[in-house]
């Protein structure tokens, strides 16, 4: 049943993405409207899945790569819905739906069994630290997506009225992302002191979170320079996305450290 809900959400996201692009290509507004409703239905299923999984596990569903990727995808969806209804940004649909689907597809490739929360993760900082990371990554991915749209629109018409809006929106998303990433890093440091006795251990995940933070901090500083606006910063937002993805996926798979919880048992063994 739980798998049915999860894959139901994934299929709805896929159909939504497909219909969205078909609607854009064939200029059928009714298709994109249906795509949006399919997306909302997928989001409801994903939300239900995460809630049920959390209830079954007696904890927040954020403890492994699958759960984090699902929460990450959910965060993109939530931001997308917020942007659509609160900020009336309808052009963000296609980017957001694709990002939500792709990240959830990555989650689908991960082992899905519900595991007991290991002692190192049993902390009041757990939800705060990992939840803020999911939101920050979601904001950065959406910013990169908006960057892609900016570049495409600018290529067609460099005086398009939506360019200013997109530029501003990339900035707002990155501002949200960096605030949440700051909270992630700082709450992680405080948690690390409780768990490992050191605020900072230069663990690969910490280092790459710092690198991501620096890269987006540089974006905010570059933005102060009025000459470097528009396409330059849109490209910057796009090219920063691989760094976010590496921090999320690459570090866990290629650079194991204290955040690779599969290996933690071995590390904590004295004998």
């Amino acid at each position: 049943m739980l798998n049915f809900i999860f894959f139901g959400g994934l299929v709805l996201y896929f159909l939504s993405m497909f219909l969205q692009f078909a609607g854009m290509v064939f200029k059928k507004e009714s298709w994109t409207r249906i795509a949006w409703f399919l997306f909302l239905a997928g989001f409801v299923l994903e939300t239900a899945y995460l809630i049920i999984r959390g209830i079954m596990a007696h904890r927040l569903p954020l403890s492994n790569q699958f759960e984090f990727a699902s929460a990450f995808s959910w965060s993109i969806g939530a931001l997308l819905i917020f942007c659509y209804y609160r900020l009336h940004l309808d052009w963000i649909q296609s980017i957001g739906i694709a990002a939500t689907f792709l990240i959830l597809s990555y989650a689908a490739l991960q082992p899905r069994e519900i595991t007991e929360l290991m002692p190192a993760l049993r902390s009041s900082w757990f939800g705060f630290h990992i939840g803020s990371a999911a939101i920050s990554y979601a904001a950065f991915i959406l910013a990169g997506g908006v960057g892609v749209r900016y570049v495409l629109v600018e290529k067609k018409d460099s005086n398009d009225a939506s360019l200013e809006q997109m530029d501003h929106f990339i900035y707002r998303l990155i501002a949200l992302g960096i605030l949440m990433l700051t909270i992630t890093i700082l709450s992680g440091a405080i948690w690390a002191e409780e768990a490992w006795s050191a605020f900072w251990t230069w663990d690969p995940k910490e280092v790459w979170a710092l690198i991501t933070w620096i890269i987006y901090a540089v974006y905010l500083h570059l933005r102060i320079n009025r000459k470097r606006r528009g396409a330059f910063l849109a490209w910057y937002a796009i090219l920063s996305v691989p760094v976010v993805l590496f921090t999320f996926i690459g570090v866990n798979t290629l650079l194991p450290g204290l955040h690779s919880y599969g290996a933690l048992e071995a590390l904590t063994r004295l004998m």
Partner: protein, 413 residues
Amino acid sequence: MKKILQFIQSMTFGLILLGAITACSVIGSLIVQNGEPMTYVRYYPDYYQIIFALKFDHIFTSWYFIALSALLCINLTLCSVIRISRISRQKPAAYEAAFAPVPEGNASPEQLERIRQKLESMRCRKEERNGITVYYRNDHGWYGSFLTHLGLLLTIILFGAAMYLPKVIDEPCYPGDSLILDDGTKITVDSFRIEDETGKLDYTSRINVILPDGRESGIKEVSVNHPVSMGRYKVYQQTYGTVGKIRAERNGKTDEFYLENKDFMSADGKNGIWFDELYPGFITDDQGRTTLIQSTSGHYENPVYVFTLMLDGSADMMMAFPGDTIEVKDLVFTFLDPVEYPGLRIKRTPVMINPLLLGAVLLMTLGLYLAMFAQPVIVAVGKNGYAVRGPKPENTQYEINMILKQDQKGTKV
């Protein structure tokens, strides 16, 4: 000299430093840090000399990384000083300048009304002079950037202090035993468990800390994520282990030992048992062959002692289970249940570092919030036009542009 100072305090210099720190961080994350020299020779046979020469094996404690961090701190200090002095000059002047004449005709009366409504819905305060109404809010937003930089500066300095000043001791301690620290502080391990009542792994020690002045913590539980603080000390549940235990009897005298090493136990130096290893369990296959389990996480379910019996010049490797007895001449050995024990980490931190660091962290987060989500709003609205003023007019200008576009098109944007 003035040019150098200007460069050091510039944003360009700050960005160069951030770029260099990022490059070092990438290298440090890709190359194993603080490994044995042979590790690098083995894994990077073509590059190990470069790694050692450029200190890539401990890049985060290399002189140049520390120098980059120190330069960043100087840059942040100068930026902060410049910012606060600039704010103290600009802030009163900006409110005064807000009443300057506004451009005529950049919005229709209907649009101006919409702008007014929007600003009032944002709960802006307003002041009117010479026919110009100035709406303003988020006064504290002026300090956002300053607080972010100051918070970051303090965070870096205090993080450094919190990383390098504490004295850290890692000690295993068997239940019932005590650790006496240099200053006389005594830490006693009352008991240790790997699993809780339900069988869930939880690695919990019950300890008592007695400070040199006689203050006592009482029995407290230490587990992962839940250290015990007492005075300047913090005690962590860091690791754990399982050690074998044996009872030796001779001529009515009994003694018990922990089997920590490959010890030889004998009365005459010739006959006795040579302890080899304690295994967590074993598996027996269909044909009765036994394989010892090398490692496990958690409790030792079926512990097996492996030892060599040395008797009259012969040596026989044997296995024993808890409760088994071996007689060697006049010595009687009884293998006992293994004992699980914690590896404690004891950290002595200078007073106030942690609270100060927490303060710096909060300051930085608050600064970021103010800098990005509570920027000052100063809008002057006249009879025939408006002007967005203040240090960061973009967000407000963007909001107003959206109102104007909405007004023009009559639809959402």
